[in-house]
Symmetry: C2
Subunit: 182 residues, 2 copies
DNA sequence: TAGAGCATGTAATAGGTTACATGATTAG
DNA sequence: CTAATCATGTAACCTATTACATGCTCTA
């Protein structure tokens, strides 16, 4: 059962409630931008497919002065398919860490250039860490009663742990490069 | 200058010395499997392209009883192109963390299933951490005089930091789920 | 004698982004 | 008046994996 992750990410979002493709895109951007994203070029065709496969049903909501909203709702069948996917072991996945790729070829450039790379990386992850903490707080107050909250907290926690590790590594690496210079 | 990362990963490997596509594949598998990988379906066409663009030159090494080796060597132009890419800031990249995707939809399945997911994840990262440490040691003794060594150490260090963070998070998350159960 | 290693490559397919097309409303 | 937001979708284009094709040698 080697199945499309994007499909299940959309189906999973629909498990939170009926939504349009536009809403789904927003969800990616505003909630899980830190660890997942999809473009319209993926979302709309997948919604069509989900409807064809009976995993979701479409209904059209007419609006004045704005385009119609095509709302998709997960079906029982869809929920079953999602559940099946959720319990499947996740396969090993190689995250492509471009910063490391650039580092290991560092002998080709000046040391200070590698340092800049790591500094930029550190700053970005620092910013991301700040954003995660803000999001975490916002969720805690805005949706304290949401039954999905505990799971979300785990995800935020993950982001905090990983980004802290990135930053710690970056500091250490910058120190090591400074020593190399001498 | 939005250019193909795969191309530069191949070019970077060639900066270590002349190699065949087969060698390059091995390099991915034996050295940087933790943070980058490419298939033959990418490697061979890219080598062809590099030669066409003058960034590498090909020569054929005949062997007895084995297929010929098509050796590619980086050119001065190739080295320049690589250097240019190396100093370019790395763009933000969203690693697709499937484990998180499965977690945030966790309400759809039994709590213990989410726990299994995290336990499997923790065990895998634990194993990866062990492998990184072994690789680190092996490199330290095997190639102590290699001028690229300091950069490699930074990459190993990265792997250690990140995997430690994964494991710590996993322990914490399992604890949180255990509490939820009660 | 089966399987792994050596070694090159292509074709089919899947996964994913970007640009384009359309067009009204609203906020600055 | 300009830009953003709302809203749907497609086509062209990259990026990447998997399966296939070939064929010899060495090891278990």
């Amino acid at each position: 059962m080697k199945e499309n992750k994007t499909k299940y990410s959309v189906l999973g979002i629909l498990s939170y409630g009926p939504m349009s493709g536009y809403d789904i895109k927003k969800f990616y951007e505003q909630s899980i931008a830190g660890f997942w994203s999809e473009s319209y070029g993926q979302i709309y065709p997948i919604l069509k497919r989900l409807a064809k496969e009976g995993l979701a049903i479409k209904s059209v909501q007419k609006q004045e002065g704005k385009p119609d909203r095509h709302i998709y709702a997960i079906t029982d069948e869809g929920r079953k398919a999602l559940q099946q996917w959720l319990v499947e072991p996740v396969g090993r996945h190689i995250g492509r860490h471009e910063i490391l790729l650039k580092l290991i070829f560092g002998r080709q450039i000046e040391l200070k250039e590698s340092m800049y790379q790591i500094e930029r990386f550190r700053d970005r992850q620092q910013q991301e860490l700040t954003e995660i903490r803000q999001l975490k707080k916002r969720f805690k107050t805005d949706a304290a009663d949401n039954p999905n909250m505990p799971f979300w907290q785990l995800a935020f926690d993950y982001g905090e742990h990983v980004n802290r590790a990135y930053i710690q590594w970056a500091e250490k690496a910058i120190g090591a490069l400074r020593k190399m210079k001498k």
